[in-house]
């Protein structure tokens, strides 16, 4: 549906849809408005029913996930490592590593989940356009569970 709209309208709609995420996550505080618009275009909202595997062990960590609703469990060799919920973040901080990592764990939805997802490449592309914000973002980004192996 969004693709049918002119780009500037798309950006405004995305900004609105992702508003909660962008306003409430400390990592985005202080971002220039253009940066927020660009980022909100790149975020994708996904849903996962109970039992769905979101990440498999060994998966390349191409995306960063923000949980907006529901709970997920993180398992390594069937041992529960963590249970994460609303406002938690999992994946790896793309600014911290020059190469993309692989997941050490399996991530599974425990209850029905709403998630915001952004691809590492998209995030880095936007941040590179706003170099003065890059550092702030990288140091403020709180990854609740770092999946990198």
């Amino acid at each position: 549906v969004l693709k049918g709209f002119p780009e500037c309208l798309q950006a405004d709609i995305c900004l609105h849809l992702n508003r909660n995420l962008l306003e409430n996550t400390s990592a985005f505080k202080g971002a220039p408005p253009g940066c927020l618009r660009a980022l909100s275009m790149k975020f994708k909202t996904t849903h996962a029913p109970s039992g769905d595997n979101l990440v498999h062990r060994g998966d390349v960590l191409t995306a960063l996930f923000f949980i907006s609703r529901g709970t997920i469990e993180i398992l390594k060799d069937n041992v529960v490592m963590a249970i994460l919920g609303k406002d938690d973040v999992f994946g790896e901080n793309p600014c911290s590593y020059s190469t993309v990592g692989k997941s050490s764990c399996k991530v599974r939805a425990l209850t029905y989940c709403d998630l915001h997802k952004i691809f590492r490449d998209d995030l880095l592309d936007v941040l590179q356009m706003y170099p003065e914000f890059f550092e702030t973002f990288s140091s403020n980004l709180e990854i609740t569970f770092n999946l990198r192996d």
Binding site: T71, M81, L110
Partner: protein, 153 residues
């Protein structure tokens, strides 16, 4: 909209129901995995992060012995009692001085309860933390602990 049931181990949705039941009571608690050597924290609720000043990311995976909360006035005796209760999988209440992230200290009433899975093996611990300056909540703990030991109630 029907929820498609995946292959979720019963134990793990059980953790989620414990969390949700417990979380409604304005508690500050953590859940630890009893089957891993240093008994790491797998979950802490928002009440816990608020009380101590640490974020969930800083807490998860640390040992539920919570050494990060210890400081100069933390009694080694109290620490030993906690370690013992965890080792022996005993339900126990201990009073201990803890330090928040900002360095301030407070007297904490800590209640530890082992949770057994269907095979009777202790799979988790729930540990509740109460800042003793919130005295009115104290009597409610007696109602809470027995009901979480037997989840069938």
């Amino acid at each position: 909209m029907p929820v498609r049931r995946g292959h979720v181990a019963p134990q793990n949705t059980f953790i989620d129901s414990i969390i949700r039941k417990f979380d409604n009571l304005n508690r500050r608690f953590i859940v630890a995995n009893a089957q891993v050597e240093n008994k790491p924290i797998i979950f802490c609720n928002d009440g816990f992060t608020e009380l101590l000043g640490y974020t969930r990311g800083e807490i998860v995976q640390r040992s539920c012995m919570c050494e990060f909360l210890h400081g100069p006035h933390t009694s080694p005796n109290a620490v030993a009692k906690i370690a013992e209760a965890l080792e022996d999988s005993e339900e126990r209440q201990v009073e201990i001085v803890y330090y928040k992230k900002d360095g301030s200290k407070f007297l904490c009433s800590q209640v530890m309860a082992p949770i057994r899975n269907e095979e009777g093996i202790v799979s988790m611990f729930i540990i509740n933390f109460e800042d003793l300056t919130d005295a009115p909540y104290r009597d409610e703990l007696d109602d809470v602990v027995p009901s979480i030991i037997d989840p069938r109630k």
